[in-house]
Structures are given as C-alpha cells and as structure tokens.
Subunit: 266 residues, 4 copies
C-alpha cells in the first residue's frame, strides 16, 4: 500500500523526516499502522530539491531499513523541499524503475494507493501518455503512468486541473475495463517551488493524509501517517482534497475528477 | 552490442558453454572480439529448459564475471536446451527486466543488435503488442517489444513468418520515424522443443552468427562468436538466414522481412 | 531471528518446500509465527545437492517474496537434499556474504539464533578459524564463523563432537566477553549425504525445530516452524538435541557443549 | 587495478570530477589508460565531506557508468573535499563492503594497488587490527585492513608515520608469507580537513598519481590518471611520496616504510 513523507520549509537534513522521528518513514517500512500493509519493503526512493532546477533522485529495491547508502545520504543531504517513499507493491515487479518518486524535468511525484484492475487496461493507460513524454516511461506502474499523463495534460500550467483530468481518465478506464476499488489516490508532487498533495478515492477509503507545521523547524511535513505517535497537532486532510503548500502557506481546494465526462469520452 | 550463446543437444552443464570454454560467454563479457563493444557488462541472463514446460530464467544486472550466484548455478544445472546472454545496453537502463533472454510461457528469446532510433517510435512499437500479451511487457527494450509482437503474430504456428512480419514492422517504423541503421537482428529463441536463430540486417552489417556440432558432447552450440579461438569447424551463418535446430538436425531458409509492405501498411 | 527449512528424501522441486506450502518459507519471510521477528526480509539463500559433490548456492539480499530469480529457480531445480533460509539480521549488514546457507567444499550450513554480544569478541571468534579455512571467511556473521570453526574442529570426522566443541567455545567467549543470551543455536547442515540439525540454547529459549516425514513425497522436511498450519503430525525436537537424518532414518542424541571446559581453556 | 579521483578546494558539484571531464572517473571505469585493467567495473564508491564531521558514503556493485543513482547524486551534491573510486577486484568478491572508499569516523580511505599474496596471510593482517576498530571490519579486502591497521597506529596523530608503519607491516607479511609484487600503494585519505595521498611500491611499479590545481575552480584534483587528455599541466607525483593537501597548499615528503624493522618484529 506504500507510505510516504514530504517536507517543505527551511532547509533540514533529510533524516529529520525519513529516519529520526519515532514513527519515521523507515519505521513505517517495517510497521506502518494506518494501512493494510504493515510492511513496505518492496523498495524506497527519494527526490530532493537543491540548487539545481531538477531534483536529485535516489531509488533502490532493498528494504529501506537495511540500506547503508540511504542512511548515509539522508544524514548528509539537506533540502528545503523533498519527497520520500517506501513501497509495498500492488502487483508490479520490484525494480528501481518501479520505485517512487518518479522524476521528469523539475517535477517529482509519488503515490500511495492503486488503480483497480490496472493490468487489464495498462496498454490503454500507456497510450494516453503523449509522444514527447513517452521516452520517460521507464517502469510498469500505474503510478508512473498517471504522472506522465498528468504532465502531458498540463501539470505545469494548472496542477489541479491536470490531475483531475488524469485521475478521471484512469478511473474511467478502471470502471470500464478494470475492477473495484477503481481509484485510491493519496499522492504528493512538486515542481521544486511548491509542494502539492491530493487525497482522493472513488469510494470512501481514501488512504490517509496528514500534515503538521513545525515552528522549531520552520517547515511542514506532509505524510501518509504522523511521524510521532505522541503529537496531537497533526492535521488530517479530508478526502477529495487538493492541497498546495508554499513556504508557510497552505490552501486546500476540492478535488473533483469528472469521471462521467471521461467515461463518455472513451 | 551484446553477445549470446545457445545450445541444443544432449544434456550438459550450463557452464560447458557459458564459462568453461576459452572464449566462453563470460570471457566475451569482458573482451568480445567480433563486435563494437568489447565489454558487455550491463547485465546477463539465462533461460533453460528442463522437465517443466516453461523454462527457468535467471537475470541480473551485475557483470557476468562477478556474480557468484551465476557461477554456482551454471555449475549445477544441466539442460539439453538453453539460451544465455550478456548485455551491452544500446540506451535502455540497466535493470533485470531489460536483460535477455525474455520468457513468455514456453518461449524464450534473446537478441543481439538494435532497432535504429527506437526511442522515437517506442510507443508505436508497444502499441503493436496485442492485448493478451501486454501484461508481459516488463521492461523498456526494443528486443522485448519485438519478441512480444512476434508472439502475437503467431510465433507458435509459424516462427519464421511471425518473425519476418515483426521485423518488417519494426524496420518500417525505424525507416519512417527512427534512424539508420534500421534493423540489426541476430537473435535466438526457443519453445523448448526447437532452437531457432536469425541473422539479418537492413544493411550489410548483420551481427555475426556461428554454430558448431560437437560429437563428443552430442550437441550444438549456436553463438555470436566462437567459444574457442583455435577451433576451425565453427560454421558462419550467412546474413538473411532463418535457422531451425532440432536434435542433430538443422535447416537454413532465407529470412526476408517485407518492409515495403509494412511501410505501406503504416 | 531467521527461519529455515531443509529437506532430505526423494527428489522434489525446491518449491515444494520453499514456496508452495501454505506457511512456506517464503510465507514465513513475511509473517513467521514462532519467533520474535515476523518479518525475515534481510536476504535469503539456498544450497542444494545434485550430481556434483559440492552443492549449488544461491543467495541474495532482496526479500525472498520479491525475487523473480528465486521463484524461477525453485520451480526448475529438483534436489533430494537442500537447505533454504530467510534472514532477519541480528546486527550484521545485509549483504550476500552474510546470507545463509554458507558453503565450504561439500558442506553447507545455516543457523537460526545468535551468539550474545558477538561484536565484542568477534576478533577472538575469527581467530579460532584455522589457517586453511580462513580464506573461506567472506562475511562478518557469527554464524559463518561458527561454521568455519566447526569445520576446522573435524566436522567431517565427527559432526556432533565438532559442533559441541565449536558451540562451547563460542558460548564461553560470549560468557567471558559478550552478553546474555549467550547461545541460541538451531541450525542445519549437510555434507550432501546426511542432513544434520541441532536445537540448543544456553538458556531455556532454544529456537524451535520441527520435522515431518511425508510418505507421499518420500522425504522429510526439517524446519523452524511447520510448513502447514493444519497438519498435526509435525514432531517437535526437544532442546539439547543433535539429529542425524539419512534416507528415511533419523537418530536424535543429546547435544551437550561443554562450556566449563572451554571457559577454562581460554 | 582500480582508478580513483579526489578533490580539495572550493565547493564544486561531485560530477565536475567524477563524470563531466573528458577522461572522467566514470570514463576510466570503461577505458582507463594508465594501468593494466582498462575496465574497472567491480563496483564504485564516494565519500564526501559537508557540514557534518563524518563524511557521507555511497557504494555500490554496479559498474559506475550504469548507475542512475550515482549520476543523480553527483549532479546534486556539492563538496569541498571528496574521494571517489572505481574498482577492479584483485581477488575479493564484488560486494558493497569491498568497495572503496572505506570510512571510519571522520576518516575516509581509498586505494589503488595490491598487497601480494594477501590471501595467504589475511588472518595475520586482520589480527593487526586493534580491538576497538575490529567491529569496523566489514569486508574482506586488503585495502580495508590496511586502513584499519593504520588508524590503530595513530593516523589521527601522525598520518605519515602511521601509514609508513602499516605499509611496512603489510609488506613484511607479504615478503614472509605472500608473493611478489609485495606492495603497490597509491592511495588517498582524509579526515575532512586535509587530503593525503601516497605513491609507493616495494618495486619500481608504483601505480601512477597526478594532481592539478585549477584556478577557475579554486581547487585541486588528485587522481590516478589525468581527467583530460589534452591538459599539459597535470603534475606527476614521484614514487615514495607522501603528499598533504590543505586549501591551496601542498607538501610532499619522502614516504619510507621500514620493512626490515617490521620483518624483524614478526
């Protein structure tokens, strides 16, 4: 089912989110509490923004808890905006190219959830990736395909509209050719300036999404599940939400993919 | 550019082809002599047939010479029909799913060569994979796509015709959207009963193909380049050939993909 | 804490023990029930005997459930005597050389348990490995060291005596320089002819050991925990036992490492 | 035989040394020119210093040219002092723990060369590692052992003396128990403040060592072989030299391990 954690704010070491907290992402790779899969050991990944326009990316298939490279990296690298993810596969092979976050140009994207019965319409999904972006398709996950389709639909110009359209198209495909649950989508993505997050599902089981501003740190963690069990001030994001985080600010708008339209168009 | 070696005949240890000869496949992974890339260290793979209808498959991204698992495996496993391959990437990432041989059901397939400018028409190529086989598309190589398209075109019923058609379609795509050299195709594949090999190119530079019957072993090696430098009785297969090996027998027929037809059809 | 499964008897596919049973070894890598660590995802390994005098060996650091090479291998390889193991590290790094089973010549060895406070006397332990065998020390585990010491103490000539001596030496070291619990030793090893297993601990918490003869299969499984939850005829081996399995036969003798002697000798 | 490259000076992206130059370290992993092994594909590693007292470390077994993680990392991370290495094994297994640079506390160390016949006296070498540092012994290379012995001999207090002593001890062991060539030692190491390099051999074949100050960059590259073929101002360091680099300064002193003393002491 995957777990992820993102951060935006004042520069911190990646480990301050990924490994140091009591229920850090690495801890969640072994015993997550708010999803079906306690173990998320089918790979992990990071994308972090620094001086360059494009983010750094580090992905591997080892369980997150046992990779000394990861441990070293997150203890050295500082960033003011980063994404991190531990994977529990919903079917596709364990390989680096199937690990999140995915990166294209300055964008990075990670996903917790699934698109029901994806194997049955995988080809149709991939056909929705525009020509210019097709060479970026490196793995076989529904998540990467969704990201590439959204990019082609104008993630640059209007992230919310592009994601609504992409999600609608995938959900429609799942309704027509796949299986329930059709769409579970709790994801985060960034262009290096803002951090975006979505919590949405076609049913009432949208995977959880929380966030918390830390004054001491001067930054906000946006996560699948709270990084500390004791802390009461983690805010839960309601389902059907599109969040935009920039600096200290955040806005939440309704996220409403229009499936009927998309179904009709197919 | 890759190197490969296949075998059909009386059961032998895989190592008798893959590592023991003076210029074995593993030796070729470090210093091949009959192709551009002396080093073929972007992964390796095996497919071997035994009691089961489907072949075993073992692929990894390490250079072949440094994998102790491979060494152990080929020293233990015996087979009367197997394929082995060491890879030099022509662009796609080094990952297990991009290593040859590929297997689908009882078929296995490996390739040395390339399809010119593949990245520019990769999507069109993947669209030619039929629905039923699309879930088998695990990597991003032109080789795997070619194999899946050929399977869909009836590799079971008529291997030569299916491969001619598939090669023609890919060559036509390359001519329309890609770059020269359009098609370099020296490949081997099997259904567990017969071993097939093709040597073909759209120009005059078809990668080499040799074979040699060994009476002592009671089997035939079919290879990119001879496994011993001293042996004079390696037979070179001419370009534009489709070979069928079964038991001790072999037949060679002309291999003539019809590109004009395929170009017209696009 | 690790889980393992061994087999001796009529030739079967490795998968008949490793993946097919309801609570197979691979199932145990995700949710073992009779030990502290439900998850055993710090690598896995196989050693199997065939026509050769030395066994085949295959080890990797991926969780057992996600390796397609493993899946393919165990579906193809048949053996009448094999060892398989999934690892939960007690401290040492996740690397192929730290995965069990270890092999030296015709011997193979795997271990579930630990030697308390090993890091504090690791050097002394390694110094007990005889010169001739030192080049075989490839990793950094207590298990591999114990195996090499036992080999040097005459595992060939008298397996029980050699293991008693080796266990006593390590337990004495742990008592002198390490920490409680000093010795937890449920292990299996083989020379390709017989399968041996030990269940022993310096306290009353010896990791579990079971076995079961299958008439249909014509062989015996020797395991950390039963491979099917429904089957009532799994026999538990009592603590302080040394088992020898050959063909259909089995003998159990007391296993009594003499720590006082060993402590005195240090 | 390995190749390596180090840097000290004004902060630069790691890629400015490791991948961007015409004959960069990654280029050398495929076609080095000043050593026996053109190919250095048995793993690679980096150690880099930043804000923390201890360096970051990243090592993997893939050939350097094919790892997307490495490519991304070196394009993002900046450092004013770093070590990088591509490995050609002289016998020991390809595994992360056998890749250079090794790190202990704030020290990092990498080596090009070998210690003749090491397998025959490996145990004696490891016994020279002091108790406190023994837990740091993770792999099986002669290089890591040499580093740990030097640390125990006071690398902190007097790097040159400690390395002379350590080299002498290993060379003596090789003369007594190993094989010629006894010691080939071109290495680099750092405590995060200064960069040290040695060029030494027991015969007249000390692996090459060059350095070059770049005014534009404000830093110095210290390397196995020059990073650009065209540049005339690479300075070759003579054999039997101990170099200390700090900021823009460099000093070269004679490096004279006293083997007769060490041989007598054994």
């Amino acid at each position: 089912m995957c777990r992820w954690a993102a951060y935006i704010g004042r520069e911190i070491y990646l480990e301050d989110i990924i490994s140091r907290p009591g229920h850090s992402l690495i801890h969640q790779s072994q015993c997550a509490t708010k999803c079906h899969t306690a173990i998320n050991a089918d790979g992990f990944g990071l994308a972090w923004y620094g001086d360059r326009e494009t983010p750094g990316q580090y992905r591997d298939v080892l369980p997150a808890w046992s990779d000394p490279n990861l441990k070293s990296l997150i203890g050295q690298v500082k960033s003011s905006l980063f994404l991190s993810h531990v994977r529990a596969s919903t079917g596709t092979a364990t390989s680096r190219n199937n690990c999140h976050p995915f990166t294209v140009g300055r964008w990075s994207f990670m996903h917790n959830g699934q698109i029901g019965g994806y194997d049955a319409f995988r080809r149709d999904a991939e056909m929705m990736i525009c020509d210019a972006l097709y060479p970026q398709r490196k793995g076989a996950t529904d998540s990467e395909a969704l990201f590439l389709v959204a990019l082609g639909l104008g993630l640059d110009a209007d992230p919310k509209a592009a994601m609504e359209q992409a999600a609608a198209q995938f959900e429609a495909l799942s309704k027509a050719r796949g299986a329930a649950p059709h769409m579970r989508l709790t994801c985060a993505f960034s262009d290096g300036k803002r951090l975006y997050a979505i919590r949405y599902a076609s049913d009432d089981q949208a995977p959880t999404l929380f966030h918390r501003w830390s004054s001491s740190r001067g930054g906000r963690a946006v996560v699948s599940e709270p990084l500390e069990t004791g802390q009461a001030d983690w805010c839960s994001v309601p389902a059907n939400s599109f969040c935009t985080f920039e600096g200290k600010d955040m806005t939440i708008e309704p996220f409403t993919p229009s499936c009927e339209e998309a179904l009709a168009a197919q």
